[in-house]
């Protein structure tokens, strides 16, 4: 009963944050909805008894991604006239919501038909996760490290000002 009520509260936060993200006009308010959604998602990871992933979610998604997102929204600091004009926003959201809802139902049915119960084995703890990560999954782990390095270099190159590049190559 406690689990279910915790789940309902967290699910309300996630769905409310997601709806706030896609409906707000100002990107900063959307970012706060996104933050609420990500924090509640860490709570759901904790509810699934996966403490390490809950911590990683808070540290990476909330601590790094959302903060970087809010910082770039504040850096861009778009004025009201620079935001896109979306006069039929709610109509579009309603229409695409109606179109997407059968897909939602299909995804939910196809996943929930496969497995009805949680496993009774208690094998997913941080120790087992670490052993699996560094034995069977060590190659994807290394590939992810290369991906992060190349994303960092690529982000610096893309976001750099053009005249800085011209000055350095001269």
């Amino acid at each position: 009963m406690l689990e279910l009520s915790l789940f309902v509260i967290l699910a309300l936060f996630i769905v409310g944050g997601a709806v706030a993200t896609i409906t707000n006009r100002q990107p900063l308010f959307s970012a706060f909805g996104f933050l609420v959604s990500m924090l509640a998602m860490a709570g759901v990871f904790g509810l699934l008894e996966n403490q390490f992933l809950a911590l990683a979610q808070i540290m990476v998604s909330v601590g790094a991604v959302v903060v970087l997102n809010i910082l770039s929204i504040m850096t861009v600091n778009a004025k009201e006239e620079n935001l896109p004009q979306e006069p039929y926003k709610y109509r579009w959201i309603l229409l695409s919501g109606v179109l997407v809802s059968p897909v939602t139902f299909l995804i939910y049915k196809s996943m929930s038909m496969a497995y009805q119960h949680f496993s009774t084995l208690e094998t997913v703890n941080t120790k087992v996760m670490g052993e699996t990560l560094f034995s069977a999954w060590v190659l994807p782990f290394e590939i992810v490290s290369i991906l992060l390095l190349s994303a960092m270099v690529g982000a610096i190159v893309i976001a750099r000002k053009k005249d800085v590049i011209a000055k350095e190559t001269r």
Binding site: I22, F34, N82, P84, G97, S112, V124, I158
Partner: protein, 104 residues
């Protein structure tokens, strides 16, 4: 507790984010919707890890969080670059390649 409500939450979050991607034109909102879709996918991986009692799904979700971080860096750099070029956050303005094709 059964896994069904968790599956429903993941499907619902994915659909809300999909609606955000197709119906909004603000680049930041599109970016955040893509992040929400990726997060709902990692939620599915964690649920399956608990359903099957195997750590593989959790490890995949952990790698996915790293991919989300890489995507955040690239996408935000791209938004800043596009804002500097066009002075707008409207995704309708990112059509230089389309215009070139029409003129040629």
């Amino acid at each position: 507790m059964t896994p069904e409500p968790f599956f429903f939450l993941a499907a619902l979050l994915f659909s809300i984010a999909l609606v955000g991607v197709v119906s909004r034109r603000n680049l930041f909102v599109i970016y955040m919707s893509i992040e929400l879709m990726l997060t709902s996918t990692s939620l599915v991986l964690v649920i399956f890890s608990k359903v099957l009692g195997s750590a593989d799904g959790s490890v995949m979700a952990l790698l996915m969080i790293a991919v989300i971080a890489a995507e955040a860096a690239l996408f935000l750099a791209m938004i800043i670059h596009l804002y500097r070029r066009n002075r707008t956050l409207d995704s309708e303005m990112c059509d230089e390649l389309k215009q070139e094709a029409n003129n040629a």
